[in-house]
Amino acid sequence: MKSYQVKIARSSADGGITRIGTFQVALEERMTVLDALFNIQRTQDDSLSFRCACRVGMCGTCAMYINSVPRLACKTQVSQLDTETVTIAPLPNLPVIKDLVVSLEPFFKQWKKIKPALHSPNRDATEPAKIPATSRYARETPQKRDCITCGICYGACGIKSTNEEYLGPAAINKAFLRLMDPRDTATEERLDVLNEERGGVWRCHTQFNCTAACPKKIDLTDTIMRLKRSMLFPSGFKKA
């Protein structure tokens, strides 16, 4: 067991961060930041609020700002941080509800803009659509389909912090997947959203923060750059 000092941003009822709570916790080597939070909640301060669900990095609910980097609390071992003081704050670029709990409403507002649902002309089809393993979609998007909508890329994005209208990396990645999807037909509508001056892909300044922070290792900057290049040519997303 090793003792750690954990500093947690605490909020008032209206969500503003008002103070930093300091706690001392003893943890086993492989214990995570989420374990530390549970320990504090059970033994020191039961008013501490945070969110979690799956505890195995699948749901993305426990995304928070740990030692100045947005991370999943359940996948971050405290010993790997290589520090005796762990600082935990709510995810940036999102409104705080209480303590470490943020509202993902702005994130999903942008998400909805790119029409995330499949727009297929064959809505009444009874046969499942076939996507050949040789298609571009099957070959080039497997990892990009792993998004768990945790909001970490949204919190890490430097552009998002200064531009409320920017779609954010996750929404752009979703749009890219739909554009690549051979079953989808809403190409023009999505390209119009992606091409918007203030909110579209052209706002990205290639900081690579989203790629660096993504817990699923999705190369989000690659998605954005590929979209930029494809959008320069009208036939970039013509369905095969």
């Binding site: 492989r30 030692n67 980097v69 010993s79 790997q80 941080l81 290589d82 430097g158 300044h205 290639t206 900081q207 690579f208 923060n209 790629t211 660096a212 922070a213 190369d219 900057t221 690659d222 750059m225 590929r226 930029k228 290049r229």
Partner: protein, 130 residues
């Protein structure tokens, strides 16, 4: 379990954000170069006041402080240019997967090397001998 060494931790966290470091470098050097350009245009503008005024303006740049700033300017130009080349390569889809290495090798390594090759003779000639 992989041992927790400082190297592993640095690899896992800090290095990943070199893209942001590059972004900040590009912005800061860009703004500083813009300030220099205003100063440069202002100095050239002195020509309109006649040769004596221009010579007077140039005299200011002969003191050792400005000689040092000149070397600093060289560093800014090299850093901004090579980081710009890195960004252009990434925009074209080249070296994207190795952007971190590209940053350290090109924007910092090659830039540092070119700067030293150019700055040392400049320092000897313009600061030490003046």
């Amino acid at each position: 379990m992989r041992p927790t060494t400082t190297t592993n931790v640095v690899r896992k966290y800090s290095w990943q954000f070199s893209g942001m470091v590059a972004h900040i470098i590009q912005r800061v050097t860009g703004v500083l170069l813009l300030i220099y350009l205003f100063l440069h245009v202002h100095t050239i503008g002195e020509l309109s006041q006649g040769q004596a005024a221009f010579d007077q303006a140039l005299l200011m740049f002969k003191n050792p402080l400005f000689r040092l700033l000149e070397i600093g300017l060289l560093g800014l130009v090299i850093l901004h240019a090579l980081n710009g080349i890195r960004l252009t390569l990434i925009d074209l889809g080249l070296g994207h997967k190795r952007q971190q290495q590209l940053f350290w090798a090109l924007s910092i390594g090659v830039a540092g090397l070119i700067f030293l090759i150019a700055a040392i003779p400049l320092f000897i000639a313009s600061v030490l001998r003046s």
